[in-house]
Symmetry: C2
Subunit: 73 residues, 2 copies
Amino acid sequence: MDIKLKVGQRIKELRLQLGLSQEALANKADVDRTYMTDVENGRRNISVEVLERIIMALEISYADFFNAKEFMK
Amino acid sequence: MDIKLKVGQRIKELRLQLGLSQEALANKADVDRTYMTDVENGRRNISVEVLERIIMALEISYADFFNAKEFMK
């Protein structure tokens, strides 16, 4: 699976676990809401700086963000 | 510390553990050698697609790549 899709699915999974709307997560991560929709749908090749803002907004460590089935070899 | 620097340091650390030169890692990850030098020095805000190619070239899982002191909160 494409890395953009893997990252997007993981973000959505964690967002829903936190009970956050896309808009709330977008605001928290300081990204545009429609951009966040694209990210979750695997349509954006985000940079590590944007990834960091989203991971911080999800209140999870990098290791835990990537320690998921989507990223297992 | 800036995420670009954290990622760059971790790449260099893992590259040296594998005994690879920058050129060898750049070739393996299909990125330009001078670009790899910039990445290792934290001067590039790489995308997740480039990050994936480098992580694959380092023969490590995402979780293990990010399970390092650089990324601890």
